[in-house]
């Protein structure tokens, strides 16, 4: 395989899997947060309801 193909392989893996690992690591650090806190009551449609 030519060097340019290897470089694109590294480039693709770095962005996709490196990026994914980075995002997952951020999420893992925040694990203690109540990220799915239950809604107290069924909400109205939101503050923009006009």
């Amino acid at each position: 395989m030519p060097l340019s193909a290897w470089l694109m392989l590294v480039f693709g893996c770095a962005i996709l899997y490196g990026g994914l690992a980075w995002c997952i690591s951020i999420a893992a650090r925040q694990r203690g947060r109540n990220v799915n806190a239950p809604t107290e009551s069924p909400s109205p449609a939101g503050p923009e309801d006009r």
Binding site: L7, G12, I15, C23, Q30, V35, S43, E48
Partner: protein
């Protein structure tokens, strides 16, 4: 008192469900071919630009809108401006239309799962696909009766969708923990098999060798945006529906990033599976890799079966693995699409998820049988073309403009940032207001011009008018009816209740 809205079991369940919805058959059968034919490894550059300037911004928009409004697409858009509920129903209607024809591919996959035990396609897989499995007629005007084995496949698919959705998001939370990792694992098994075959490296070389000169062609950039847009389950209301089951304090931005990167990572990975097999097939047949390269149903139901038959050993096992992979990839997307539609009924009229799942399946199953008739392949092709090239593009364009200009988008960004692990800057608003709508407008105009000037394939105009424009416009009419029907609370008010 109204029943509290259901929520995901955990953040992992939400991300798994979103990834499962985004990762579908297109990741395996479309991305590798698009990449190969659009500059090989060089295609990754426009692909990543499209991912970060259009895919992820729109993903954040949809998940965030659902989470903030705590409603699916119809009522979420209705909350921005009341008449936009009509648009929301149309968007949800597109997802209903997609799931009805999408199940056809799963019906074919069931049939092939059975045939892969004996590699019944022999050495004429194309004839086998069109004449034995589809029993295809000459054109869309010759519909005929539904094909028996495909009806069984279709029934199995709808039964599975009903069983998964009958307990709403609670059962989805559990199912995705199996149906999302399983196809990844099976793809890894296929990759190991592919890479150990002679000729595999030649296939990979074709997939990755960059041709940077193609980056000067603006159509390659449009292709990249199109690929990102269609592969992330955007514009059909799925991510709005899934986001609506998040809690009010739930994080959205990083979850959207994880979903987008996982989806594209799967596409990139699937390219190695596909091209290692294609390299082997070219090696066995003594031809060049481009001669065996294809995409879409041709890749899954003609080229791959050929490669499976040529494997030195365990052909049936790898055939089963491949078609189980397709089924598990497809089923997540199918039930996500149905959920995107039915959640609007739950929100507006408080109908129980089990009743919604049952009613939808009972109505959709008979309609979907049109696509497994002898002329069904042609109708499938037409409806798919119009929904993707016109319906979803218009929907995505309108969503960006609505949120970008009719909603307080800066306040929305600040709201997302309050609970986010990754802060959104001004680039997000810029992408939503200008980049994504601009690209989608160009795609839409190009598609319209092509349709007017050359038509689609050799289909008669009446067929594309009925199956194509008819499907897209029908949901505009049905959306209007659903919007005008009073909400439960409106009825109570009309009766003078508090």
């Amino acid at each position: 008192m109204a029943e509290a809205r259901e929520q995901w079991h955990s953040r992992a369940a939400f991300i798994m469900a979103a990834v499962g919805s985004a990762v579908g058959l297109g990741n395996v059968w479309r991305f590798p071919y698009v990449a190969y034919s659009s500059g090989g490894g060089a295609f990754l550059i426009p692909y990543f630009v499209a991912l970060f300037t259009a895919g992820i911004p729109l993903l954040i928009l949809e998940m965030g809108l659902g989470q903030r409004m705590q409603r699916g697409a119809p009522l979420a858009f209705g909350a921005i401006r009341k008449p936009l509920q009509w648009f929301g129903w149309w968007v949800a209607g597109l997802s209903a239309a997609i799931v009805i024809y999408y199940t056809t591919i799963l019906a074919w996959s069931w049939a092939y799962l059975w045939h892969s035990l004996t590699q019944a396609w022999g050495n004429q897989p194309e004839t086998f696909f069109f004449e034995t499995v589809l029993r295809s007629s000459e054109g869309p005007g010759e519909i005929g009766w539904p094909v028996g084995p495909l009806v069984i496949g279709m029934a199995l698919t709808w039964l599975l969708i009903y069983l998964i959705l009958r307990k709403g998001v609670r059962s989805v939370s559990k199912v995705v923990m199996v149906t999302v990792p399983l196809p990844m694992l099976l793809l890894a098994v296929l990759l190991v098999r592919g890479l150990t075959l002679p000729g595999a490296i030649d296939g990979i070389r074709y997939y990755l060798t960059p041709d940077f000169s193609m980056l000067t062609d603006w159509r390659i950039w449009l292709k990249a945006y199109g690929q990102i847009f269609f592969s992330l389950s955007l514009a059909s209301g799925v991510m709005i529906g899934y986001g609506s089951y998040l809690g009010r304090k739930a994080e959205v931005t990083n979850s959207a990033l994880i979903t987008g990167l996982a989806n594209c990572g799967t596409s990139f990975f699937a390219g190695f599976v596909v091209f290692s097999m294609l390299g082997y097939l070219a090696h066995v047949q003594g031809v060049a890799v481009p001669d065996v390269t294809t995409s879409g149903s041709g890749l899954a139901f003609v080229t791959f079966p050929t490669a499976i038959s040529q494997l030195p050993t365990l052909n049936a096992l790898f055939g089963v693995i491949f078609f189980v992979t397709l089924l598990t990839l497809g089923i997540d997307s199918a039930f996500a699409l149905q959920e995107a539609f039915t959640t609007g009924f739950h929100d507006k009229w408080g109908i129980h998820p089990e009743k919604l799942a049952r009613t939808f399946v009972l109505i959709a199953f008979p309609i979907s049988l049109v696509f497994v008739t002898r002329g069904g392949y042609f109708w499938f092709d037409i409806v798919d073309k119009w929904i993707c090239d016109f319906g979803l593009v218009i929907s995505g364009l309108a969503q960006c403009l609505i949120v970008g200009f009719l909603y307080r988008v800066r306040e929305f960004r600040d709201y997302l940032n309050e609970q986010s692990e990754v802060r959104l800057g001004g680039w997000w608003i810029w992408a939503l207001r200008y980049v994504t709508p601009g690209v989608l407008a160009v795609i839409l105009v190009a598609n319209l011009l092509e349709e007017i000037q050359v038509g689609y394939e050799d289909y008669p105009r009446w067929a594309t008018l009925i199956g194509g424009w008819g499907t897209v416009l029908l949901w505009g009419v049905l959306g209007f009816v659903l919007w005008r029907r009073p909400q439960n609370s409106d009825r109570a008010k009309a009766r003078g209740e508090d």
